[in-house]
Symmetry: D4
């Protein structure tokens, strides 16, 4: 039973690695996918490949299109989507991905510090689970795939 799990959202901390490591240690068959997490590459990709732009809006537009090919395709292929909100930035892409996934009928897991609870209440409501740590996400995936509770439980 191998599942596709898309890891959406914040790209400035090691939460993806911690989830990947935890699921590996738990012996789960999960294929993780994600947006491109190299911030500079993600910002420059449009003009780097498709030609320079003088106007910042259109530079962003070109880049966002190329990134969307990746993210929308991977969300459509995913069985479950984890959406992470961190401490900084607006992170509107993360919220957009959450809405996109929910409308397609994908179960989502929200991952964010407690301080965002009120601002993220709509997304937490749409989510099947809200976690505060990557380890909790690993716990959810272990239960979902293998039916096991954490050892400490």
């Amino acid at each position: 039973m191998s599942w596709n799990v898309y890891l959406a959202g914040e790209i400035h901390s090691d939460w993806r690695e911690r989830i990947a490591q935890g699921t590996k240690q738990a012996g789960l068959e999960v294929i993780f996918t994600s947006p491109v997490t190299d911030h500079a590459a993600s910002d420059d990709v449009g003009v780097a490949i498709l030609g320079e732009e003088n106007n910042g809006f259109w530079k962003d537009h070109k880049g966002a299109g190329v990134n969307a090919i990746r993210t929308q395709t991977l969300i459509r292929q995913a069985d479950v989507v984890v959406v992470r909100f961190g401490d900084k930035y607006k992170q509107w892409n993360a919220a957009f991905d959450a809405g996109f996934a929910v409308a397609l009928g994908k179960p989502i897991i929200a991952l964010h510090p407690e301080e965002h609870n009120h601002a993220l209440k709509g997304i937490d409501r749409a989510a099947m689970a809200t976690a505060e740590t990557p380890e909790q996400v690993v716990g959810v995936l272990r239960y979902v795939l293998d039916g096991k509770l954490p050892a400490s439980a």
Copy 2:
């Protein structure tokens, strides 16, 4: 020709094992999936992973969300859904899963004792087959996958 068959419903008897054993003996290529059948784990999973709750309603709510990640994903991946109703409990989840599967266009097989016939008439009507024993479900799967009737037929 390998099929995914989701075994929904009652978790207090050995019907899943009997179906699995019967299909194995018949040499059928079936991948069976199911909800987590460890009742205690299923009840506790929300708080065990995502943090304690004082209120029973929210404890259940957290657990139900985690379980739904598993069950809804597996129903979407399934080719056929078997829905079992046993002797005890309300088993509303089983009926919910049946409605969920039918709306997605999945064929369902109902499995329950004759005494529930009247109460389950709506689900039996929505089902493609109603069986009383796990062995009959094996019979249906053998015919559906391999085109063979029971030896005794």
Copy 3:
């Protein structure tokens, strides 16, 4: 802004009337639909129209088919589905309707006494709101349609 609201489930108490009366008093534009709530008619409809059956299973089967024409069509036409669970009977049709509606992307409101909380945790999780009284459902509809809180709030 007129909404279609389907009132699924229990047919032995006056909850539908109380919701209809409450929304009327609140001046809301709601079109309510429901299954046929005449229990005897609902049970007999198959054989009364399409011919007698000796076998109870097929009598039920015929009747359930005719009822499903009504209920599935009305659920598909509905914007919101309220699902009521009462004190008696198995009420598997109510749970089936809930699953059917959720898979179609319809928001559902669960309505049941607190004593069913644990047994209905899966459906409460899939619901956007869980109410214990018809008056609370009226409150939800008033807010949803007109954006107003209860006077006492």
Copy 4:
């Protein structure tokens, strides 16, 4: 030719009124819908109707569910969705609504000040038009419904 246009997002400025007024002056047949824009009501609705909660997370959860009945239904009914991002707050609901609408195939119009261009590049890319003022949205709707350019053009 009457269209349903859902006005998602920021609820602290008069942008909805300005769009409504502008389309009225232009003689367009548009039915506007929106989330409940009374911030306090929106925050309190869950507990005001469905019962108190000690825990802020569950208070928010209850309220978010009731609000989602309204917003998801209206987005599904809409022909076009305008998504407004203002100066303050995280506004993750707005971004969630944008993703939800796009996945359903609804054309969206983004409305936000230029300063958010970079942070909103993903949503601007998914949008069919990006406007900075409500009057520009009126201009888009006038063209879309009546085929007319602004008088000054």
Copy 5:
């Protein structure tokens, strides 16, 4: 509560009129639609409008395309589809329409003499009701729309 009911199939007897008359007498709000029932017009429509063909196959092909614009659109608009099989001809269009409607999630009612029971078992199984007379179809529609059994019941 006005429903769209598409009357598919046989065009050589007065069954559509009998259903229309019966529902009118019962005071039901039903909008009936149907294929073009003028056999000669239906056969000739392609070449009559779009130009002559020497080859019978292409004459039929042209006509079938024009008829499909009507029939597929009306089936998509319908809430319920009645499929009638008569005594003569192959009536493959009726069976095609039944399959088309079922795949779209429309409830169908089969209407045919008992002698076709075995040959139509697959379609009767996919149908929510099987009737032998137009009056039984009226009975089903009366129950489905108004919740009433036949007076004689």
Copy 6:
């Protein structure tokens, strides 16, 4: 029985007027919609409303987005789509609209001079009817809505 018919494609001849006039004379209840047929307005709309662009590509991009809000919405609302190809220009939008409509399950009618038969074979194959004159389209609509052949037939 009122139908929505979207008239896609060429905007430099009077074919839309001829179809509208013909259906009016025939007494048909059809609501026609179309893209904005004022070529200059269609080209300028993006910059006229949303701000100037130095770069022709982005000027076109802005305008195409605004036009797409109209065209994609109207195609989704349509029961039938007529796609007209004229003598001049590449008319790739017309072909795009045809593909878009077919993928959504809408029946399409192709309208073009015989000289384009070979180049349009793929679209003619996807169409339910191919006409050479607007009057033939009127003939198709009259048959489809009212079941009548042309008087001369």
Copy 7:
């Protein structure tokens, strides 16, 4: 490039074998599926597995349900559906399967003798190709999968 091709319809001649043999000789990667072609087994399956019935209608009903689990699942899994009409019987199931497949967006290939052309015009119109011999179907599959015309062409 391996495709799933469902072979629907007539079960009394060797057309399936001829197609399978032809595609094998052509070296095509095709997985063929089909209904159960053992006529007696297909008729008896319901009662043989799920219990006897006195009434022929319900015997057929039970059997048709079990067969539908197989056929509807395989049609949903198929990339292409071939629908064969032979010389005998009503073959309404074949026409039903054609309509079912078309509504799901599956391309269908009709296979029947010329004598059925007029009666099957609606299905031929919905099909992407009409063949008279199994060898022509092999030709179509060879072109579709490998891009090659028949050697004799």
Copy 8:
């Protein structure tokens, strides 16, 4: 992470080979599919397999049907669709394929010389990226699959 990429459009230059070679050199796991690019075979396939036609329109019609089995199936299977417009011919099939893919929610990449920018503005707007050279498409695919910018960037 292996993706299916459908290469639609122009069949008279070596752009498909250049994309295939470039992705191979980049070590990407991509499965490319395409229409049959042998122009003569594509034109003749209908009559070569299914029988001669005197009339050019019907010859084209037969051939277009067989080609559509291939192209529509491959577009449905694709994760991404590249649509190429060259210097010659009307290339309406390419535009049709673009519209078909967009309506199915597939991200598309437009590939064409700058001179077509104005005529293709609608398709460029619907595309996630517009490229002028096959090497740019390789760049997009490398970023999308492996997250890497071009070496020269």
